[in-house]
Symmetry: none
Subunit: 182 residues, 4 copies
DNA sequence: AATGAATGAGTATTCATTCAT
DNA sequence: GATGAATGAATACTCATTCAT
């Protein structure tokens, strides 16, 4: 799966053939179909693992932090750090977004991720720390910021995740209309 | 080109065959190759037209507005309105981002679009209206917000562009650290 | 036809499209089909003209020469000179030999050409100037010599026709078992 | 390869489709591309094998014959016998001569074959058995005789190789200006 | 468990030919 | 006489998937 993820990330789903994947591993085609029903299922499996892994990292990072705003910040930073460390898997997530066959599975995972953020946002709104707006939209806005900045700065321009994360966090927290913790 | 854009948007580039495009138009396969050198060139042509059109709309919308912050806001709103009216073309732009063959052409167009925004941001920073940060990153952050909210709310959930644009604008302007015009 | 002959000679029959022929002439496709029923018929027409022209040249060259051996020699030399001057048409003749659709037409012309030579050979045999062998075979042997030497020396190596013709004639006349005219 | 050679010989290279080749063998199209990179490569492979085989036969036939003139004669006879037994492969050689894509490969093989003959001719000239002329031209003249007589008499008219070989040999040896071995 | 030869539907593209203008 | 847009059958080639070994 790691090898396949690499190939998919580099060349896209269609441009990567099963032949190429197994050749790169030095195994026969039969063994591929022993473990996976189809190329599509392989992709979905990698995708699910990626989403699961990202979520676990975020939960670890947030730990038992009490401040919801701080939790949001940790989530954003973890996203970018994870994306930097897992280029291939993150590329797969982008890939899945533009393919009819995968967009469903992708969304299921993303809904969960967004729900996590929404929880923190709601809490912060309740305590007056964040301007009163639709928490769902706010969460998605942050997802958009982090995703795009990752793509442009970390992937395309090769900048370090944490320096760009500083700007992303500043933009997002301001965008949420944060009032400093009293 | 309109019909092809529709098919590409719906099914993706690879899943849409030349056969299908011409069949849907009730014409022969040869006529396709009379007008386009290849399926790839067709896609690129549609992509370029889409990017050109979006940019023209933005320039029209901004007109000769003097306030840079207001120009940014108009740009954001126009993006979302255009995306709502041109679902297919916007989908194509998303598609292009995940395909090696198109990402180059896409980026060329996007660099121009971002440069437009960066100009306004720089001006606003110079006049102290926006927090002093890398204008390039700020512009990209806004692109991320608008793109993602469009995808999720306008496309997937079918909400009207202007109501979601209000939230997007609020998030972005706050994210820029705007100080109200004195 | 001259232009088409050139293209066919250079690229072969299949590799030369009707589009290319008319484009090179700056005319539309319609006019092509006004003058010719098909690409195949065009080829056959050029072929027939080429064979006719070669034969006329040979008859002119031979004139009313009385000596049959001398007539043979003149025929051989004229063949090579003509091939040098009409590279394209000669190439077409070679091309026709390997294509089912043209080999029939080609053979009809070649049979006539060979018959001309056979006449001289028979006469020379009758007068004891040439060894008594099947005149048909002898004629074909000479056709083989001239054709192949033309291909190799005149076309591929660009040598002048008359110098190579000297050797070809010597080989052929000796091959016929000529006894010097008494 | 045998089946493909047959189809190519009968219909020509372009008129023979990969589909037809595999259909005739009762196998799928994929298996063709498992063994060959392309239709072109298949043709080249058959061509090379044919040329290699012909040369081996000639070398076997000549053995350690001491007389260069006799070696030439054996070479000529072997050529015609081989052509009779390998109609398809010989046709392919003719086909290759008129196709830009194959003429290079063809020539490489033919240069070797001619070089073999030239060696014998040179030796015979040195010992005064053959008239002093360019041995290269003489060799090519014989190639022309044998090739053409094969085409006309063995292939088109179905005559036995050895009877026509007698005439070809007589013509060629006379053409070389042979003086009987003293 | 594993191989890799075999399948065949599917793809992009070409090109001789037609015909409304 | 002439144009060139339109046709569609045909072509070489790919690749996810199967299955006898």
């Amino acid at each position: 799966m790691a090898h396949a993820a690499e190939r998919f990330a580099e060349q896209g789903y269609h441009a990567t053939s099963v032949s190429e994947i197994v050749r790169g591993l030095g195994v026969g085609k039969g063994v591929f179909y022993w473990y996976f029903d189809s190329k599509e299922q392989l992709f979905l499996e990698i995708l699910r693992d990626a989403q699961t892994d990202l979520r676990r990292r975020q939960q670890q990072a947030i730990g038992d932090e009490a401040d919801p705003v701080r939790r949001i910040e940790l989530g954003l930073r973890t996203s970018m750090a994870w994306a930097e460390a897992h280029r291939d898997h993150n590329k797969l997530i982008e890939l899945a977004a533009t393919d009819r066959n995968f967009v469903g599975a992708l969304r299921r995972g993303q809904d969960i991720a967004v729900a996590d953020v929404v929880k923190h946002v709601k809490e912060a709104i309740a305590s007056g720390r964040i301007r009163d707006a639709d928490p769902d939209v706010l969460a998605h806005a942050m997802v958009g910021v982090v995703g795009h900045l990752t793509r442009v700065y970390i992937y395309d321009r090769g900048e370090p995740a944490d320096s760009i994360a500083d700007v992303a966090v500043a933009f997002c927290l301001d965008g949420l209309g944060i009032t400093p913790a009293s």
